[in-house]
Chain length 438, copies 2
Amino acid sequence: VHTIPVGLLGLGNVGAGVVRLLADNDAAIAARLGARIEIRAAAVRDPQRPRQATLDAARLTTDPAAVCVDPAIRVVLEVMGGVEPARTLLLAAIAAGKHVVTANKHVLAEHGDEIFAAAAAARVNVYYEAAVCGGLPIIRALREGLASDRIQELVGIVNGTSNFILTAMADEGRPFDEVLRAAQAAGYAEADPSFDVDGIDAGHKLTLLTRLSFGTRLKPEQILCEGLRRVTPADLALAARFGYVIKPLAVADDDGRGVLARVHPALVPARDPLALCAGTMNAIKVTSAALGQSLYQGRGAGMMPTAVAVVADLIEVCRDLPTARAARGPGGGEAPAPGSPLPQARPLRDPGDLECRYYLRFAAADRPGVLAQVTRILGEHEISIWQLVQEGSPAPGSPAPVVVVTHPARERRVQAALALIDRLPVVASPTLLLRIQS
Amino acid sequence: VHTIPVGLLGLGNVGAGVVRLLADNDAAIAARLGARIEIRAAAVRDPQRPRQATLDAARLTTDPAAVCVDPAIRVVLEVMGGVEPARTLLLAAIAAGKHVVTANKHVLAEHGDEIFAAAAAARVNVYYEAAVCGGLPIIRALREGLASDRIQELVGIVNGTSNFILTAMADEGRPFDEVLRAAQAAGYAEADPSFDVDGIDAGHKLTLLTRLSFGTRLKPEQILCEGLRRVTPADLALAARFGYVIKPLAVADDDGRGVLARVHPALVPARDPLALCAGTMNAIKVTSAALGQSLYQGRGAGMMPTAVAVVADLIEVCRDLPTARAARGPGGGEAPAPGSPLPQARPLRDPGDLECRYYLRFAAADRPGVLAQVTRILGEHEISIWQLVQEGSPAPGSPAPVVVVTHPARERRVQAALALIDRLPVVASPTLLLRIQS
């Protein structure tokens, strides 16, 4: 059995998982692949640091650029994360004719065009299953399993930290800040949580999913993106009363006129599989023209789940090696070889065109006529009310939450109505808008 | 853009779906693949028969063997079903150096060893995503996405007809026979339903899943296989009272000592994703060492869902064509090239070793002391009772159903106890045994 030497950039959590998984399943992988995989070099910042991986110290190097151009190395695994130096190193490895496997959604979301184009020119592959939902093979499902079908909609829970926080808030009735601190203590959330709770991480993943599903090159900033910080336990309880669960969604759909991509918390019917996807789990519901609805659910983050995806990609790349340098459609439904036509990239549509039902929580003063003012403005914008709940105000004189669930309405009109409502003197703070995904 | 000529064996429901899907998504597939796919020849029994597919009559032939050896054809799609002549034709195509794509679980379950060995020798690929759960990319998930992980258990609903019948029985309280006739009228069940309702079809699929997940070569007759016919609406209602839904499961697990494969209706906790998989939907829950639990759900049968899988495989094979004849691990985790080591096939374990909780429905005469006899025999076999329900007998003197839910017990002991109980003069008919999957 011959050995395929690979290089590793980064030996943190995911990198250590890769080393461990390759060791644990060495014989099985060799049997499946007909070759052994060997980590020839691993680039780290500080070789002295204690690590979770047991890798021969002689394999460690502080020179990642040397790993990328090492003629003995066939495949480069990038698990360092972040934009730079990951971008420069990936491009160097590609230019040196290496296939690359990356777990880095951030660099692909921001520099995917450049990286995929370089790979196509060099006729090497870029695999990135680990960049979206960890070990859940959603990239494979879209890139291969549904390559024959036309995708119409993706609705997913792609950020485990956000899902953990909303699940805990709903189960325990505790506020966002408190649950976030608990998540940070448990290691489910970063010290700076904004990537997770403000939807940035989910936006990066959605950029990749949108490219793959619709051919659309989306800049992360083109995504309608809202975080979780304004959702309260009271919202979760009220949503439950209406038959919904609030979930951190990433959605992209093509309604025939174009693609709309958005990341925000949304109300999901309680019996929907996404409503039942709890804790740190991820799930993606895909609707395609011929297959209809399919669902993929699993652990989207963590050392070993992410390592599963990295090593699966590595095996896949190695399967192609004997015949390599003929890229199998590197990324994003990209054409497999220079000169082939580009995929039909679907145009973007304006987020204002979105039509759905809305959950609106107004912080209205507990005074006569306030409800009349709010509902009049909604009516003038052709937003009709399906249900309205006015809770008693918590203390005399303090704002009383009024919650409205609308019939389907146009985002543009809802935003215009809220701009007026939030300027009313009787409204104490900005209205909370949550979309209903049905 | 160049054209890849392929041959089609069979132009029934699935074949027509393949033709339609290729036509509908022609441009998108060409963009993804960098080549056009063209059905050069389609072998049918009767060219005059009206069909759902619009294919140039000149492409139809009644000579499938000629399609298999046609030098112009690169890939053969087998969608005729059944064991023969499918087996002979697949072997002929493989011998002629064609890659093959098949939707035929039956021929692979019974002759997979022969077909995969022939493909390995000829260095061509056998793709069969459509043979298990139609368009749901479960084969891809196991073969590629989890190639890096060690699979411990698969629990799936892999037969849509069975799931439809049990769902309708539960929802409408109607008996098996009546629901089966309705399913036949609606086209969800065949005139001869035994493949579906007796677990044969699920057994074929489980054979393929077991080979892929555990390397184990399983003959369909080695599967513990029980059908649905004895389940009644009363069982579904009682199960619901205990917090369960009865689902048609296919299960394979490796507990470290070996693999046990079984197909039977089972009680599933009401909150389990499998319990919520209703109607004709399929779902598979996979547990693997590093990723943990992942779930795949979608439409497992029907013209277009099955065609999605066939064409996805076709695209995959075509992606490899420029570099072809170096099989990418044809099937079953098989070694990719002659001479490589075989995967570690896990041994089988005895179904008697199964340990789980049981739902037992006794048809006991409504007479004093009967319950004592039944419970004494259970006790003597170390089967302890978790819950017991005795319903009033429907008419004076007629047998009264007694339902017992046990604590975890050993299958071997339960079967021994039932053999004695069913011989008691006070027991009117064989006890119904259902396993509880938790």
